[in-house]
Structure formats: structure tokens, C-alpha cells
């Protein structure tokens, strides 16, 4: 049993097997994402109670917080994959790191836009140069830099090493973004502090449950799209191999 699990993970180091594994997992991830998103949105938009402080506007939270969560989580996944790729030269780790960047960029942008849309009715301003918003904007530029660097270097090995180093340098941003709304660290910013979803006095269960469901839905969305990008990147890198030629011409 242990040996077969070990063999399975060992085989995933080969792009061909990893391509097949992703192909098999995509429909499962996509369906779980859709089901969770429908439940989360119906509960959050229709059945969740109105918040006293923010009124109905708080319902933006069901897209804003999951996208902000993903913007940070994707960067952490990229940094771990980049480190693995840099140290052990595992191709699939490089591919995961490189494929995650455009998704991370889009969710960081979404977090900034939805935050801004929420900010205007809540604070009376679309943008404030406070620690949270500014550091999230820097994260967006980091993603853009990683994508640009990866595309600018033709040789895949050099590109993977360069983007991995840049990703690892940028990882210092993540704890800073997390603490940037915490008054205990001296940040008295416009953005509200982090909510404790487990505390019913702070967040009503009717609001917190769809919130958590939407976070998981976005995570499964990331998984689905990541595997689509991974399959593309494997096809591009392995384009000269016979198995890719057979796959594209339909001989497999």
C-alpha cells in the first residue's frame, strides 16, 4: 500500500504521467467547485442575514475575501514549488510555480477591484494608500514581474531558476500582508482587521458558513484552472516528444 502510494507520487515527477493525472482530476475539481459555488452564492446572497454595520454591501465579501485568500495562498504554493524546483530540479515543481502566476495575478487584481468597490460605500473612498492595500498592490506587481520574467527568457531552465529566485525574494510580502491590518503590530489602517470566522459573536454563522464555502469553492477553482495551465505548459515543453505528437494527432 505504502509502496504503491510512493510509486504514484514518484511517477508524478514525469511530465507525461502528471499530464494524465491532471486530466483525470480536472472534472472532479471543476464539479466540486461549481457545487460549492452555487451553495455558497445562494446562501450568501439570498439567505445570509443583513450586517448591521455594512448593510447589504457586505455581500461583496463572498468574492472579495476568497480572491484575497487565493492571492496569498497561490503565492505561498508558488514559493514552495519554486524552492523545490530550484533545489531538486523537479520539472513538475517548476511547471506548478510558473502556471500559478497568471492565476495569482488575476485573483490579486480581483481582490483589489472588489475591495475598491466595497471601499467606496463603506469608507467613502475607492483607494487609500494604507499598509494592506499598498502591500496587496505590490503583490500584484510581483506576480506581473514573475510572469514577465518567465516569458522574457527563452531557455526554460534559466527562466525557471530566475523566476524561482524572484518568487522566493517576494515571499517576505506574505506575512507583511497578513499582519498589515493588525493593531498589535502598530497598523491602524482603514481596512478592517481580520475576522475570526469561528467566533459566532464576531461573525454570525449565517454569514460565516457561506463565506467558508466560497473560500473552498475558489480553492477548487484554482486547482481546476492550475491543472489546465499545467497541461498546456507540459505540452509546450514536451512538444518534441513522441507521446505529445501522438496525443495531438490523435494516435494515442
Amino acid at each position: 500500500m505504502f509502496k504503491s502510494i510512493k510509486n504514484f507520487f514518484h511517477r508524478q515527477g514525469s511530465p507525461r504521467y502528471f499530464y494524465q493525472t491532471c486530466g483525470a482530476l480536472i472534472p472532479w475539481f471543476a464539479w466540486i467547485c461549481v457545487i460549492l459555488m452555487v451553495i455558497g452564492l445562494v446562501q450568501g446572497l439570498v439567505f445570509a442575514p443583513t450586517a448591521k454595520l455594512h448593510g447589504e454591501t457586505y455581500r461583496i465579501i463572498y468574492v472579495h475575501v476568497p480572491s484575497a485568500t487565493l492571492s496569498l495562498s497561490i503565492y505561498v504554493i508558488m514559493a514552495i514549488s519554486a524552492a523545490i524546483g530550484l533545489i531538486w530540479h523537479i520539472k513538475t515543481a517548476d511547471i506548478i510555480a510558473f502556471s500559478s502566476a497568471p492565476i495569482g495575478f488575476s485573483f490579486t487584481l480581483l481582490a483589489l477591484i472588489t475591495g475598491s468597490i466595497w471601499g467606496y460605500p463603506a469608507w467613502g473612498t475607492w483607494w487609500e494608500w494604507d499598509a494592506r492595500m499598498t502591500s496587496e498592490l505590490i503583490l500584484l506587481f510581483m506576480y506581473a514581474g514573475i510572469i514577465g520574467l518567465g516569458l522574457a527568457i527563452e531557455d526554460r531552465r534559466t527562466a525557471a531558476n530566475a523566476t524561482a529566485i524572484l518568487t522566493l525574494c517576494g515571499v517576505v510580502l506574505i506575512p507583511f500582508i497578513i499582519i498589515s491590518v493588525d493593531p498589535r503590530f502598530g497598523f491602524n489602517v482603514l481596512h478592517q482587521p481580520r475576522s475570526n470566522l469561528l467566533d459566532a459573536k464576531e461573525v454570525a454563522p449565517g454569514i460565516a458558513i457561506p463565506w467558508v464555502i466560497m473560500i473552498f469553492s475558489f480553492l477548487f477553482f484554482y486547482g481546476t484552472v492550475l491543472m489546465m495551465w499545467i497541461r498546456n505548459e507540459i505540452l509546450r515543453r514536451e512538444r518534441n516528444t513522441q507521446w505529445v505528437k501522438n496525443l495531438v494527432t490523435g494516435n494515442q
Binding site: L45, V46, F47, A48, P49, T50, A51, K52, G55, E56, T57, R59, I60, V63, H64, S67, P102, I103, S106, F107, L109, L110, I113, T114, I117, W118, Y120, P121, K201, E202, A204, G206, I207, F221, V225, M228, W229, R231, N232, L235, R236, R239, V244, K245, V248, T249
Partner: protein, 61 residues
């Protein structure tokens, strides 16, 4: 801390207590970003497959 706020009419749901423009524009942007995330890798895959097919045809010639 929270009020019970289930909508009694469908028009109230869309109106969102006068905040409809903020809420629905945020959801529209989110839908757009999700759609781009799904469509873009599909388009790129199409172009990669096209390039590989062209290369195979050139090799045959």
C-alpha cells in the same frame, strides 16, 4: 450583532437596499475574471496544438 435580512421579494433582492450597483458590479467583475481564467488556457491550448500539428506536417514534408 446581525439582523435577520432574508429578502421578501425578488425585486428587493436585486435592489440590495439601494447598494445594487456596488454589489452587482463586484460580482460582474468576479464573473469576468473567472471566465477569463477558464477561457484563456483553452485558447492557449488550441494554439499550442496548432503549432505542434504544423511542425509535424513540416517534418513529414
Amino acid at each position: 450583532m446581525m439582523e435577520s435580512g432574508i429578502f421578501d421579494m425578488i425585486s428587493n433582492f436585486f435592489y440590495m437596499d439601494g447598494r445594487w450597483s456596488y454589489i452587482w458590479s463586484a460580482y460582474a467583475v468576479a464573473a469576468l475574471v473567472l471566465a477569463i481564467n477558464v477561457i484563456l488556457p483553452k485558447l492557449i491550448r488550441g494554439s499550442i496544438e496548432k503549432q505542434i500539428r504544423r511542425r509535424i506536417e513540416l517534418e513529414k514534408e
